[in-house]
């Protein structure tokens, strides 16, 4: 699996890794983030 060039949906969670962090990771690997969100179930 290669992240380079892929379109990524980043589904973060407040108690885990948040969406912004996932997006930063994906972008640093050469992917395009098309949706980024952070869910909270508290």
């Amino acid at each position: 699996m290669k992240l380079q060039g892929k379109k990524v949906i980043a589904l973060g969670e407040r108690d885990g890794v948040q969406g912004g962090a996932l997006a930063a990771c994906a972008q640093s690997a050469g992917a395009e983030v098309v949706l980024e969100t952070t869910y909270c179930f508290v």
Binding site: A10, A24, S28
Partner: protein
Amino acid sequence: MVLLGTPNAESSRLYAMTVTAGDPSWAGALAGVALGLPVYHVMEEAVKTQVAPEVYEEQVALMEMVLEAADIAQAVQEVRAHTGQGD
């Protein structure tokens, strides 16, 4: 593809199944809808090794120390295997 940041194995499995085979709880709009999207957790080695080390360290490393990364990775891998996605 879908990148997850879920905090435990159970929620990771639920998210992964929802974006591949459809919502297993049959509670949401994706019940019975098999999107078949490739799904990975950010703490899986297959993802981690492709992220710039300084970015991973700043954004994820702290949470990786407190979450059950191995259990989470196994849960998502099982869903991929079950839905016919290779690693």
